[in-house]
Symmetry: C2
Subunit: 334 residues, 2 copies
């Protein structure tokens, strides 16, 4: 039996394009001892991938040229040479952009227990995105009922969960999204109290109107001009979750912006970088909480599914072109 | 009996100069009921005063034109019409730049209990500066033994205490100061493990050499070019205490600099603004701890005493000219 894989063939400067990848097909060999063979059902396409293949230091080890693109995936165990896993189990983990993955058990992040819900959710609202939203908001944002939580990329995979969780926790949720359609999605699908199209005129004025008492928690996925408009609106004691910097496709040269130190001092505010992989101990409890909210209809999600491994090479660049509507996934098995 | 006071007569753009103040003399009237009359011994000259008289929003209410310049001071109760205070007691509080202050008890910050030590310490290492150093370091810096604590304005009133407290807590202390003389003072008087003259060549290289394992805690009193060299050296999980922005004499127009968001994210670092007045509940215990360290010879200090109320109007501008050597104070009574 053959398996296809997407391999990194050159290192991009900035966002990876289709030509930085190649699809390689190979015969599946004998599964090595101590390994599990996973037949991938869905592959993840995540903004963080830009960092994993960037040409400069980052918070993860780089993907090497010639190796399969690193990715979270969800699939079914098709063969096992370890006692912990049996064929037929649904697992999610670091299985890469490929049809079949032969991996050590340490690459399995977790067994999917929520098999009453679609498997793809393991890569979205019950996976890295949902857990990022919940744990980032809980540990750094520390929102209190009645406070205003502002979210950039508010219609995105992480942002939409942040906004809804803020509402569940009794906060006022305000979103910033690119385009009037996404802003409408924020209000109508995800239940934000207000949503602002940052491409429209008067972002600063719109923020002032939507956050009359200031911003208690800013969940920042963008940096850049959006954040520059938000910082002056921070309330005293505000908390800023630095979760992503989607406004910039490259930090070489390093971009300048209005200095944050005075905002931090005058508002006695706190800003902290958040990388979900530092919080492995909170993963299971967080997924269980998120799954309960999904079942109760309190936590909605939006998926943008591309079909077949052929869709992988251009999928990441497409994210940065803003073409997706919801969490981008690649479906491998029907 | 007459008393002289320093009054704010015009609002500066940037740092207040001597001409923004005037000295007014008036006959001391009858002490009003419910008030205490304090004969000031020492007046404080503090970098934070720039903010109190700035022409834009700040974290304190502005000093009004025509009123006595706000200042901490230490002095002796000369007359009292409240039961809590008796003549002869030594008190510190918001007594302003004047020889005699008639104040309500709420203006008294504390009774000076450490009367075995010089009274002037209530305005320095046992006052706002020492408490800022200790509480800022404890609550935001959270240094652990063996970590590297880096301090800007390392020879200053706050910075010199931060460096020494870091050593007392078992950390490695590295200072940044302006000029080779101040750097030497850091090493020889205050016991820093290393001190860097930021005016010398190669600040980034000097920081790399002095902090080979990165910076775990950065106690930032400056912002600006000094901080720009520090942020790339932050260790993973680093904490930045934003305590002052002495590099800038004005934030209008707002200065730009290298964006912090990516540093915060990649290093999972935290930056938080610190204003000591938010921590009134920690004041007494902090002063007691600092006084014990002073008595034990573990916490040294340096004072820069100017004589007489005539020295007040130019004293703040002088701080920003960098002319002081130690905590600047005005001595009123011998």
């Amino acid at each position: 039996m053959k398996s296809r894989a997407v391999v990194l063939v050159s290192r991009p400067h900035g966002v990876a394009q289709a030509e930085n990848f190649a699809i390689r097909e190979a015969e599946l060999g004998v599964l090595p001892e101590g390994h599990v063979r996973v037949r991938n059902a869905f592959l993840s396409v995540d903004p963080a991938m830009r960092g994993w293949i960037a040409d400069r230091g980052n918070y993860s080890a780089p993907v090497e040229i010639g190796s399969v693109m690193r990715s979270l995936a969800v699939g079914e165990v098709s063969e096992s040479k370890v006692p912990e896993f049996r064929p037929g189990e649904i697992v999610t983990g670091w299985f890469g952009w490929q049809e079949f993955a032969d991996v050590a058990p340490s690459s399995v992040v977790r067994r999917v227990k929520e098999t009453d819900l679609p498997y793809s959710l393991a890569l979205g609202v019950l996976g890295i995105n949902g857990v990022t939203a919940l744990v980032g908001l809980e540990t750094i944002g520390e929102p209190r009922p009645g406070e205003t939580v502002l979210v950039s990329t508010a219609a995105g995979a992480v942002g939409s969960a942040v906004g809804q969780i803020a509402k569940i926790l009794g906060c006022r949720a305000v979103g910033i999204a690119g385009g009037s359609e996404k802003a409408r999605t924020c209000r109508e699908l995800f239940g934000y109290d207000a949503a602002i199209d940052y491409r429209g005129p008067g972002l600063a004025e719109a923020l002032a109107a939507a956050c009359p008492d200031g911003v208690n928690v800013y969940f920042d996925n963008t940096s850049g001009a959006i954040s520059d408009a938000v910082w002056p609106r921070l309330a005293v004691g505000g908390r800023v979750v630095i979760c992503g910097t989607a406004s910039f496709s490259s930090w070489d040269p390093w971009p300048n912006g209005p200095r944050l130190e005075r905002h931090l001092l005058v508002k006695r505010a706190r800003a902290q970088g958040f990388v979900v992989f530092d919080y492995a101990d909170r993963w299971e409890a967080s997924v269980a909480k998120l799954a309960d909210w999904v079942r109760a209809g309190k936590l909605r999600y939006s998926e943008d599914v591309l079909d077949g491994i052929e869709a992988c090479p251009d999928a990441l660049a497409g994210l940065y072109r803003g073409e997706n509507r919801g969490t981008r996934l690649i479906r491998i098995t029907k």
